[in-house]
Amino acid sequence: MIQIHCPYCGETLPELEFAYAGEAHIDRPESPSAQTDEEWAEFLFMRQNVKGPHFERWRHVHGCGRFFNAVRNTITDRFYTTYKAGEPRPDLATLLEEDNK
């Protein structure tokens, strides 16, 4: 079973306690009514569908309840890191370099 580190609980716990919640770092437009239909559709539906390291949201649903962000390899399911919601996107090159050590 995959083990996921919850940045709020500070514990590494079984995947079963967590729920996947889609791609991370997608900002809701500040004024939705100013958006064209195409722009709004882009925000709602269009995702990168990454093959490899992916920035994504998870929720510790059967635990502290919080959403947080993770970088996971969609091929190997390896988690490079997890971090609290609102924290900046970590540098991918640095993460991969650290992971190779």
Binding site: M1, Y8, C9, G10, E11, L13, P14, L16, E17, V61, H62, G63, C64, G65, R66
Partner: protein, 189 residues
């Protein structure tokens, strides 16, 4: 106060050499969501108002004046109080609302508590919990998964636990624990 609609009545579910599982008496329950805000509202005020300081570490517990608190999330607590105290605690929290906006909901009727005790209590819990029970230390509590349902588990000693369960899952989880306790006892025999 919300009355319980359908929950297990206080009783012994199973009592074996491995573990004893029982349904506890009804107790007052309050769910609290709050956080220190930019306008000077301080979480510490909650502790002063209700007489027990809120633990801020997830899984941390505190107890005083008949009120028992567990920290479930970064801004979430569950409070166990006697039925007579519910109103007093609610009033104390409500008085804080202007300076510390928060969400307080009485959920007495939502849950029932199972006690799980005995030499193999921790092992019994491991049949339904994906997480390692030994990672929950004596004197801590956690919200976690047990046999498909979200529960709050309080560890009172190495061999005694309390499990807060939503009513709709209670009889199902009690059956899981009953089966497990009997199987563990059969292995001992």
């Amino acid at each position: 106060m919300s009355k319980h609609i359908s929950s297990l009545a206080p009783s012994v579910v199973v009592d074996t050499a491995a573990a004893r599982v029982a349904v506890s008496q009804m107790i007052g329950r309050i769910s609290l969501r709050a956080r220190t805000n930019e306008n000077g509202g301080d979480l510490a005020a909650v502790g002063k108002a209700i007489g027990v300081a809120l633990p801020t570490q997830i899984g941390g517990r505190a107890k005083a004046d008949g009120i028992e608190v567990a920290c479930l999330g970064p801004d979430e607590w569950t409070l166990l109080v006697s039925l007579e105290q519910i109103e007093k605690v609610e009033d104390a929290l409500a008085a804080l609302y202007p300076s510390l906006p928060h969400s307080m909901t009485e959920v007495t009727g939502r849950e029932v508590t199972l006690t799980i005790e005995g030499p193999q209590a921790a092992e019994l819990l491991s049949i339904g919990a994906p997480r390692d029970i030994s990672s929950i230390k004596v004197g801590q509590a956690r919200r976690m998964l047990f046999d498909g349902a979200t529960v709050v588990l309080w560890r009172d000693s190495e061999t005694s636990f309390r499990m807060d369960v939503w009513n709709s899952f209670a009889s199902f989880l009690a059956t899981t624990l009953e089966t497990g306790a009997k199987e563990l006892a059969a292995e001992l025999a």
